[in-house]
Amino acid sequence: MQEKPKVTVTRARRDSATKEFLFTADSIPAGVLNDVRVKAWEAFAKFSMPITTDEAWRRTDLRLLPASDFKIPKEGAFEDLPAVPDHLLQPLTGEQHGGQITLMPGGSRVDLDPALVSKGVIFTDIRTAEREHPELLHKLIGAVVKPEDGKFAALASALAGNGVLLYVPKNVQVETPLHSVLWGPGADIAHLSHLIVHVEDGASVTYVHEAASPNETGHAMHAGIVEISVGQNASLRFVELQSWGRHVWNFSHERARVERGGNLDWIFGAVGSRLTKNFSDLDLAGEGAQGRMSGFYFTDGLQHLDHDTQQNHLAPHTTSDLLFKGALKGKSRSVWQGMIYVAPGAQKTDGYQANRNLVLDDQARADSIPGLEILADDVRCTHGATVGKLEKEPLFYLKSRGIPQADAERLVVEGFFDPIMQRIPFEGVRERFQQAIQEKLSA
């Protein structure tokens, strides 16, 4: 038998141009979370900048991230920056909001229907929560997403002064949707956010969170945490939209834990940022828990969007259903890497994942990497991944009916996204995606 030659690869020292963050422990906000934040800071200090030999970062390169430029915005910084545009404050689901929070650099604005307050619903920003609900906040923070999950999780955990606490008490049904906007204008700013959503047993709510900014010259970054827990037989519909400016490096660590009989409908829409690395994990922790994840993305120019999803079936009879669909233009790139994990003993689980990409320009590129890790023997798991182009025949067919080229392309692209639209129960969100398709196609 011929022995294979042993190859040892020695990596050259990292490019000296790679910058490190210059944040200091002085930026840790004071308050009841101080102990949690100090621990997170210690974790942050231990992490080095992710590099492309780290498995999760293989396809997303941070060497050009000007980390040393970013500063934490000072209190009230938003007053000297462009204000949040009105259209971002309009309801996307239903007629009106039950509550709305605007998070801005160094400040926030909160509005909640008194009827919900009287039912014990908490929907407020982190600063207010620290004052008004210190014990609850302390109990919930870090319960689902840990600082140890990654450098950017640790950063947001330690330093995020902005954030949302949504708490729905047991058996309370919130009929009107809640809405928050993270508005991030300005350059050289690190926007840090921490969202905590806790839906108690038997409760239900719809929550829409949107992160957006204008395009600016220079750079900015966002690091965010979204931690969600859905109690037994509780139900959460969570929509998150991302339309960061083209100068924003966007990182997020998100995880939802769903207990027995709970249900999560999780919708993602991503059209912005220069670069995004998003970790979204669904933990189906209790028997019969269900989770659906629907993703819409559309990239153009030099955008790079990397979505890393994990569907963890940790209990029997759990169901997950993921569909991410994306279109790409210009020299943009998307990465979707998904994993269905079925824990030992999580029998009778049903896991599905599919990622479909439509590459509209020759220089755009979509990577699609599905994965299964199944440690139980009585399960049904299916997955699929496709990367396709605009075909000539459908376009000719549409044109032969009098539809001009540009409209024919738009119809085909809209048709491609239709399965995602069908999964979105909110007209306003669908309209927003349709508008994004229009804008991206005509850009």
């Binding site: 459908p394 549409l398 044109k399 009916r401 009098g402 001009p404 409209d407 119809l411 085909v412 239709d418």
Partner: protein, 256 residues
């Protein structure tokens, strides 16, 4: 009176000449049938008339209402009044029949007036239901994705539905009978006949005579090796039915 004039048309696909000097004039109100054996260039003619990018016209002219059709994009040809019922209609996943038809009708309106707001939805629905009723189509059809998972008969009916909605002046039916059982064939033919009249010129392309039992042509042409070799009245189709194409081959093969 609009007419489609095809003069000495030569067409190649990937440098192979398929049409070798075909001439034909179709006037509004006339029904022409082109018959011929497989591989003789019938579908090439259909696609070329509609402007499929794979077909290159190397010589000749196509003139419609005084316009040089060869200079027009497929969508412009359609808006000018030319319609092709495809032999193999293409599936457009995610786009419903209704959405598609509305886009096609609105494209027509916007070509006239770029500011047009589009056909009012109620008016459109009413029109669509009426057309579907004439073709004995279930109204649920409007909500299905265009040609996606349609049976052969459904596809052909959808083609005729489009023709009914778009009201062309010249319609080319490319092997519309292929893949249809006798009931579907009758429904589709009735649909075409309902649309025929002094304002519509029809070019029926078919391999078999049976479609012509339902759609009665005024003129029948036999195509062989990229040309029309024989033209006549309806009796020519019956003659073909009886004697097949062999006599045509024998008569014209040496010319070819």
């Amino acid at each position: 009176m609009s007419q489609l004039e095809i003069k000495n048309l030569h067409v190649s696909i990937e440098d192979k000449e398929i049409l070798k000097g075909l001439s034909l004039t179709i006037k509004q109100g006339e029904i022409h049938a082109i018959m011929g054996p497989n591989g003789t260039g019938k579908s090439t003619l259909a696609y070329t008339l509609m402007g499929h990018p794979n077909y290159t016209v190397t010589e000749g002219e196509i003139v419609f209402k005084g316009q040089n059709v060869l200079e027009l994009e497929p969508d412009e040809r359609s808006r000018a009044g030319i319609f092709l019922a495809f032999q193999y209609p293409v599936a457009i996943p995610g786009v419903t029949v209704a959405n598609f038809l509305r886009s096609a009708l609105n494209a027509r309106r916007r070509a006239v007036n770029p500011e047009d707001k589009g056909l009012p939805i109620l008016e459109f629905r009413k029109m669509l239901k009426e057309k579907m009723d004439t073709l004995k189509m279930d109204h649920a059809f409007a909500g299905r994705y265009l040609n996606d998972g349609f049976s052969g008969g459904e596809k052909k009916r959808a083609e005729i539905l489009q023709m009914a909605a778009l009201k062309p002046e010249i319609a080319i039916l490319d092997e519309t009978d292929s893949g249809l059982d006798i009931d579907a064939l009758r429904i589709v033919s009735e649909g075409v006949n309902a649309l025929s009249g002094p304002d519509l010129g029809v070019l029926v392309i078919t391999h078999y005579q049976r479609l012509l039992n339902y759609i009665k042509p005024n003129f029948v042409h036999i195509m062989l090796d990229g040309r029309i070799v024989e033209s006549g009245g309806p009796d020519l189709a019956l003659h073909l039915e009886e004697h097949g194409y062999d006599w045509v081959r024998e008569k014209y093969e040496e010319v070819v």
